[in-house]
Symmetry: C2
Amino acid sequence: MYIPTFDDVKTAHERIRPHIHKTPVLTSSYLNELTGAELFFKCENFQKAGAFKVRGASNAVFGLSDEDATNGVCTHSSGNHALSLSYAAGRRGIPCNVVMPRTAPQAKKDAVKGYGGIITECEPSTSSREAVFADVQAATGGNFVHPYNDPRVIAGQGTCSRELMEQTDGLDMVVAPIGGGGMVSGTCLTLSNIAPETQIIAAEPEQADDAYRSFKAGHIIADDAPVTIADGLKVPLKELTWHFVSNHVTDILTASEEEIIAAMKLTWQRMKIVMEASCAVPLATIIKNKDRFAGKRVGVIITGGNVDLDTLPWIKG
Amino acid sequence: MYIPTFDDVKTAHERIRPHIHKTPVLTSSYLNELTGAELFFKCENFQKAGAFKVRGASNAVFGLSDEDATNGVCTHSSGNHALSLSYAAGRRGIPCNVVMPRTAPQAKKDAVKGYGGIITECEPSTSSREAVFADVQAATGGNFVHPYNDPRVIAGQGTCSRELMEQTDGLDMVVAPIGGGGMVSGTCLTLSNIAPETQIIAAEPEQADDAYRSFKAGHIIADDAPVTIADGLKVPLKELTWHFVSNHVTDILTASEEEIIAAMKLTWQRMKIVMEASCAVPLATIIKNKDRFAGKRVGVIITGGNVDLDTLPWIKG
């Protein structure tokens, strides 16, 4: 298992720069007052393809030799990695096959197709997704870009907190949502090198708290098919992300579905940005644990904005 | 009738700077491709109090002498001017009385109260609003800050396109929504001074097209109670805004309710920003009249983001 280094992050940053946005950092005096903390929101919902995942996906796609790129790339993903990889592959002009759960938001499926990705659907469980994917990969021979358990992807995600640290004037903590741990691992990789005193807090839905339980137990615990509104955070840790999480994360905090939806609606209302339920988990945990964050300068990673606008969780259909 | 000058815009800008954001200008490669134009969105939905109206309101409030400020300020407004004036009065520490139609979005009423404004409700017609307001003003003695037919307000709104021109590298056209004409008048005032070659296009809902009909007729035509999803654009032109519209606007284009809602949803979906139906009218007219905008550098003013998230026009309740 190759463990990426901060040099890989710097190489990734140079490689992907033409394909990504340096996303803005927004602040909200209302949310600062509400939490007592000074919050800096890194808005990856404004990122190309609508999510931070385009960083890792672009690093993998544009790092391939021409020979390795011949059969294109393939992956499985709940959505944002699928469309990010489709976007990057489209820009390089190589095919992209993705396995997505049939329950993934329609907006994400449409976006994958819009970028030229080819979708094969699976059941919404880790076991089904891996089985269907094995078939797709065998049939296409594409280079497998795992959504998070891949050093190229983690190095790419590490560019996000590198920008965040440049854009702010030092932070006491960074809070990021955790699913498979790709964003958190990239954050660990970067901050342990350039800001080792900055704490890294992972935020997870109570209903998909396998990373939390892994962290407390000291080994990976994986759930097969957790159910949460935070559809980007259902997947389990894998060995590479576990390496970073177990070595560098300060703590993992959880929030209920209700708290996540309230934080999501509050962000839309006060910050006027469209972001996914998954990105609301950090703010939900900050509001829930105010004492822990009060008086601190806290970076919050808004991971994506690919929402199905026809089914918002606070509106009964 | 005092007609504000560009010097008034510059004075306003200095005066209000501590109380407003210099809002960002966003672009979207998707929308550029869709329209064939190069679009620059001035995002006043990220403005303090969630709308450009805070510019004019702050200019009026902070321009008052201590003596004139004694009884506070008062106004009538469908929403954003009400909450902007409440915000500015709150910062100065003077009372603010506002008359709002009982049908105004709940989110806007809540925001007015949150800023300390005192609401008196009226029926959703210009006649009712003016009658109720006369009573409120007589009772409070507050300084009347009209939502748009006021030189202080127009000079304040003129600071928006001044920033937009600084933030872009020249524009062929600026498109702004038109209701009473405050934003359009401020845009006319500024651009006729600093960029006289830049065309000014006003965009209006078909179902509240009194400015369009006025423009074609050559005199003000006022409807009493038009019905449109673009709740900020129901009010008629008045003499001061008519002065600017009739002298400097190149054309007024209209869009149907369906086209406005589609443009609103598209903006949320692709730009990941929360903005009001009123702000979608410019994009709706651009999509509808592509030939007119293709190949041009076009500024689009996103006027506000104070949406009632519980009742979105594309979701049936």
